[in-house]
């Protein structure tokens, strides 16, 4: 019974390995100019990373007004969009990240249930 329970890798397990992964988290935040939403998103992201991934993260901010061609590669449609490039798989969170709970779920940093 126990073995069966563990056989499909659950969200908890994935997030556990992710957290346990000592590698650096590569995060990319797509914005379009210095809008209120973009600034809020960046502030929220920094706060969250400091709390959950101290010293293990790298944030890259891409301004699409400057580099419009980059939107295509990561399939960006909304602003702001946070992309977790590493660890894989790629995850996307859209919005100003004011909802910390959902941001963590999106980044698979914390089980959504607990």
């Amino acid at each position: 019974m126990k073995a069966k329970k563990q056989s499909p890798p659950s969200l908890q397990e994935i997030s556990a390995t992710a957290v346990a992964d000592p590698d650096v988290w590569e995060l990319r935040l797509y914005v379009a100019g210095q809008t209120a939403k973009s600034q809020a998103a960046l502030a929220n992201l920094k706060k969250l990373c400091e709390a959950k991934l101290p010293g293990k993260y790298k944030i890259e901010v891409v301004d699409l007004l400057v580099h419009p061609h980059l939107a295509k590669g990561d399939q960006i449609i909304a602003i702001p969009t946070l992309v977790r490039k590493l660890p894989e798989p790629i995850r996307k969170v859209i919005g100003d990240l004011s909802n910390t709970e959902r941001t963590l779920v999106g980044l698979q940093l914390r089980p959504s249930g607990s």
Partner: protein, 585 residues
């Protein structure tokens, strides 16, 4: 062509338009889609929305020098390119030539977490970047509704869509937005609410297992447009919309007469055949030779060096060519010269409108001088008689407007009155010929007569129609006390009349001989009488001479006697007696 001209003048007074290059669509929209504004194309799955969009861009890029951006939400550029390659559109080449940009927008709900406020600026930026990179004038968004599947905040989405359409207008691009047909609404997400300039509905209907594609302009602000449902085709040349409506009665009537291919029949039709651009109907029961007449007509068209388009709904091309060869008509050379073009298909291959659409398209493409439809009655399998009538009226109007002579055959089913044309179209036909069976003396023969022919004094005679190895022959029929005689009875009658004529001839000859004999006997009698008369005259002459001689001798005697008697008085010599001189011939 007159229509296009009037449209062109109409364009000046209405909105600026972007020509689509799609066959027929520019005609019914009066010049194309609104320039610099979005147009909504809606329809159910598989109705041709994506293709419509692609064709709008490809034609724009290749024919009107307007590059375009295709923002695909459902298919990758590779898939798109593959899907339309069969239609002759090379998206990859156009992309390389910077005439087309395809951007695939992938929205997958499971990959996206929404945490807080957002907008769709990135989509605008992507689209704007694509537009600017090739200087696009046209944009297709196929289909925006995918966004509703990928994002949950519909309030944001709706606000953003409103902004998007505003933004597209500001950009000045002619845009097509596609949308899936909803239940009772034009689109599932009510996109029609945002696109208010032009809405086109595509429909793919299946009736009795026969599919027909139709297009309707639901609205088109600021322009006069056709409001009907127009059938459209998707074939190897892309989309063609067929604006087939009744064109009214304003066609020019030609004075030119053309042969039907059968000289005696031309004679029956006022001596010169039918008018160019008129419609000819041949009705008849099975096996009366309708197709043979049609083939002669086609042959005559080709003989004049004109093109004939032959729609055969019952026989294949090779079968028809073989069969016509058996009556001495070789169509092969015309096929080789491409003067005769066959289009053989089964009537249930498409719905009625599609047939009309195919006819229309082929006529547009080949520009024939005459069209044969053999037979029109097979359409009864795919439509009601009212539908067929409507279709044929439109077809005849269309052909007449182009001065194309139409030749239809129609099968009269057993039991129906011959004069009742199957589809009730008799009133719109100009020349109507009827082929009928004449059963007489244990055989079945074909009779032909002209029921009506507008604008000419036609024969009202029933003629016998023969199919021989040398082609069609039209014979006089005998009308005797027993009625019309045909076939062997006609031959018997002919023999009988010949016998009677022979007898009469012999009688005349006999009489001539008699009179000759009589003449000769009269002459003989006259000669005999003459001889007798001459003999009598001779006799008389002799008598007279004798008399004179006698008189002379008596005078001499008296003188001699006086001398001898020595008479005193000299004797008066009396004059000789008066004897009538007989004039001899």
């Amino acid at each position: 062509m007159g229509r296009t001209a009037t449209n062109a003048t109409a364009v000046k007074h209405s909105l600026p338009k972007a020509r689509t290059g799609i066959d027929g669509l520019d005609q019914i929209t009066g010049g194309g889609l609104p320039r610099g504004r979005p147009t909504l194309i809606c329809g159910s799955a598989g109705s041709g929305k994506t293709l419509f969009g692609i064709e709008f861009l490809v034609r724009g890029a290749t024919q009107f020098g307007e590059p375009g951006v295709f923002l695909a939400f459902e298919e990758t550029p590779e898939e798109l390119a593959q899907n339309v390659r069969s239609l002759g559109f090379d998206l990859e080449q156009l992309t390389d030539e910077k005439k087309l940009a395809v951007d695939y927008v992938h929205v997958e709900r499971s990959e996206i977490e929404e945490a807080g406020e957002y907008d769709l600026s990135a989509l605008f930026i992507r689209l704007g970047h694509a537009i600017d990179s090739i200087g696009a004038k046209r944009v297709v968004l196929d289909t925006l509704e995918t966004l509703f599947g990928g994002l949950s905040d519909t309030a944001v989405l709706r606000a953003e869509l409103r902004r998007l359409f505003r933004w597209l207008k500001d950009k000045g691009v002619s845009a097509i937005i596609t949308g899936e047909r909803g239940d009772g609404t034009l689109t599932r997400q009510g996109l029609e609410e945002y696109v208010s300039d032009c809405v086109i509905l595509l429909d793919h209907r299946v009736n009795d297992q026969l599919s027909t594609r139709r297009l309707r302009i639901v609205k088109y602000r600021g322009t006069v447009h056709g409001t009907n449902e127009y059938p459209f085709l998707i074939d190897e040349n892309g989309i063609s919309v067929l604006p087939i409506t009744s064109m009214g009665l304003a066609q020019e009537a030609s004075e030119e007469r053309i042969s039907t291919g059968i000289a005696p029949l031309d004679t029956m039709l006022g001596g010169a055949g039918v008018y160019r651009g008129s419609s000819v109907l041949v009705t008849g029961t099975a096996g009366t030779g309708k197709t043979s007449l049609a083939a002669h007509f086609a042959d005559a068209t080709c003989r004049r060096g004109e093109r004939c388009l032959y729609f055969s709904y019952e026989e294949s091309q090779s079968q028809l060519v073989r069969n016509m060869r058996s009556i001495g008509l070789d169509l092969e050379p015309w096929l080789k010269k491409n003067l005769l073009v066959f289009h053989a298909s089964r009537p249930d291959a498409h719905g009625l409108e599609m047939h009309l659409a195919v006819l229309h398209k082929l006529v547009e493409k080949l520009e024939p001088h005459s069209v044969v439809i053999d037979p029109i009655t097979t359409f009864a399998n795919v439509g009601s008689s009212r539908e067929i009538e409507s279709m044929l009226i439109r077809l005849i109007d269309f052909l007449k407007s182009r001065q194309i002579t139409a030749f239809f055959t129609s099968l009269t089913r057993g039991g129906n009155a011959l004069e009742r044309s199957e589809s009730g179209i008799s009133s719109i036909i100009d020349t109507w010929m009827l082929l009928r069976d004449i059963e007489l003396g244990g055989e079945r023969n074909r009779g032909l007569y002209v029921l009506k022919s507008r604008g000419m004094s036609h024969s009202n005679q029933i003629r016998e129609f023969l199919l021989t190895a040398r082609g069609v022959e039209i014979k006089d029929v005998y009308v005797g006390p027993e009625g019309v005689l045909t076939g062997s009875m006609r031959l018997a009658q002919e023999a009988r009349e010949q016998a009677v004529a022979l007898t009469r001839q012999q009688e005349i000859e006999r009489r001539q001989r008699d009179i000759e004999r009589k003449r000769r006997s009269v002459e003989a009698q006259a000669a005999a009488l003459h001889g007798q008369f001459e003999a009598e005259q001779e006799e008389l002459m002799r008598l007279i001479e004798q008399e004179q001689a006698a008189a002379n001798s008596s005078l001499l005697d008296r003188e001699r006697m006086a001398v001898s008697r020595r008479a005193d008085n000299p004797i008066q010599v009396s004059a000789s007696p008066q004897i009538p001189t007989v004039r001899r011939k």
